[in-house]
Amino acid sequence: MLSTSAQTAETRRLVLTGSSTVAPLVSEIGKRYEKLHPGVRIDVQMGGSSRGIADARRGTADVGMASRGLKESEKDLMAHQIAQDGVCVIVHADNPITSLTHQQIIDIYTGKIDNWKLLGGKDKPITVVNKAEGRATLEVFLAHFNLENPSIQADVVIGDNEQGIKTVSGNVDAIGYVSIGTAEYDSEHGVPIKLLPAESIPASIKSLAEGRFPISRPLNLVTLGKPTGLAKDFIDYCRSEAVHDLINAQRFVPVAR
């Protein structure tokens, strides 16, 4: 089935499915696009990055959304990056620790260090928060710290970023990792979490935008082959300067062209 946008006489509709991280951003961009192009419908659906890629391939959706890069087996598809997201380690705000080295984080997650006192903190067991298998954030984390998931000793496994934040902010002894944008937004709005720097680079949207922050992942729109028509127009719009404010509002970093 060819990937075309449904074009009826009056309304033209574009269907995007995929990552729930990218969905709110593309939904907002879509609303702005609809205002500029009356008669166009941009329908955004969730379902996860794999769903987005599978749908783009099958033609069930016009465009897929993925919160990661394409794998080797997915090289028949084209990825169009629209933003960048960072992954940072967080602890509770009341935790005396202010930074951890690369090796310390690896040791915490593999269970070699299991008490905060070994790092100069309180005498409390560390609650390790990990993400569920297959998640893009997990894969970025594993790749950066050169770990395999089976070797991680987790005390809590979470799905969404907000779940991770609620878990860490509700437990003084917890450590976890989430998307930088979400963490920064929440900590600015009073949620008791602390973003730890990665290799001495502070974790913030700013350092990510400057290209200094080392742990990051792309947010992509995925198509089967080169996009045409409405799909091409919309993807170009998503990558244009006109939507940089929306990308910033969602706490991601626009991609410099």
Binding site: V15, M46, N161
Partner: protein, 288 residues
């Protein structure tokens, strides 16, 4: 009074006091827990809740603006759901309650299937609904697909409650009708159903509650689009999906999630209150 009798009397009195204490304790524990949840909702959601919230559209990924299209979508999805579930449900319940087929293999098979249906996880319903209604039957992400999927989830509860209602209609009604030479269909529709109305309404209310509470199944069927729906084939975001998105997906969406939850609670109160009031009027003004 002989010793044995007064000792027994004491025994009963202790039992009675114990029962009263336990029952009241249950009620208090449940009420306190519910009160806790409601207080939490109110504390975080009441601020900035205004009438505007009900008529505006969401903006800034739902963090500001209102939920008007979402309320509309929810209403449509539940309407589709109940329009399918009620006829099928009443029909099945009638068959199971009124005809000897209930004891037969077919009747037992229907019952077991419905019990199993009630246990299917909501996410499996979502995947099933997505495959059957959205893809196979070509409805795409749509309110119709969502409503149909929800109808599958609501059927077991509704049928069970309706069946119980039909069973408890006194036999004399049926015998009287037969003696008067009334046909089975007329008996069912003019005599039995009206007198089972309280149970049917109770099942209806339970069904709506279940439909409004469902999240995972709707994400995959009626979808995520928060535009005002223009037809049943449009995708529409239900309130439960909106709450999920705001609470778990959108950073800083927590406050708005609480607000939406409060509106949902208010709608529930409205529906349940009206159903209750309707039933009182029905019963008082004579059903048969």
């Amino acid at each position: 009074m002989p010793d044995g009798v007064s000792r027994q009397g004491q025994h009963h009195r202790i039992r009675e006091m114990l029962a009263v204490t336990c029952i009241w304790a249950t009620a208090i524990v449940v009420s306190l827990t519910f009160g806790w949840i409601l207080l939490d909702l109110l504390r975080h959601g009441l601020a900035h809740l205004s009438w505007a919230y009900l008529v505006e559209s969401p903006s800034d990924a739902g963090r500001s603006g209102g939920i008007a299209p979402i309320i509309a979508s929810t209403f449509l999805i539940v309407a589709v759901c109940m329009s399918i579930a009620v006829p099928i449900g009443i029909g099945t319940a009638l068959l199971l309650a009124e005809y000897s087929v209930a004891r037969s293999r077919f009747g037992r098979f229907v019952r077991r299937s419905l019990d199993a249906l009630a246990a299917v996880p909501s996410i499996v319903f979502g995947l099933f609904g997505s495959t059957l209604f959205c893809i196979y039957l070509g409805m795409g992400f749509s309110i119709l697909a969502g409503g149909l999927t929800l109808a599958c989830m609501v059927l077991p509860i509704f049928i069970r409650t309706a069946e119980e209602g039909f069973r408890s209609v006194p036999d004399e009604y049926r015998r009287g009708a037969a003696a008067l030479g009334i046909s089975r269909s007329a008996t069912l529709f003019k005599i039995i159903m009206p007198s089972a109305m309280p149970a049917l309404v109770a099942g209806f209310v339970l069904g709506i509650g279940r439909a409004l509470a469902e999240t995972a199944a709707l994400i995959f069927t009626s979808g995520y689009v928060d535009r005002m729906p223009e037809s049943l084939f449009d995708s529409g975001r239900a309130m439960s999906v909106h709450i999920y998105d705001l609470a778990m997906n959108v950073p800083g969406g927590g406050k708005s999630a609480y607000r939406t939850a409060l509106v949902l609670v208010a709608i529930l109160l409205l529906i349940n209150g009206s159903a209750s009031w309707l039933m009182h009027r029905w019963v008082r003004h004579g059903a048969t």
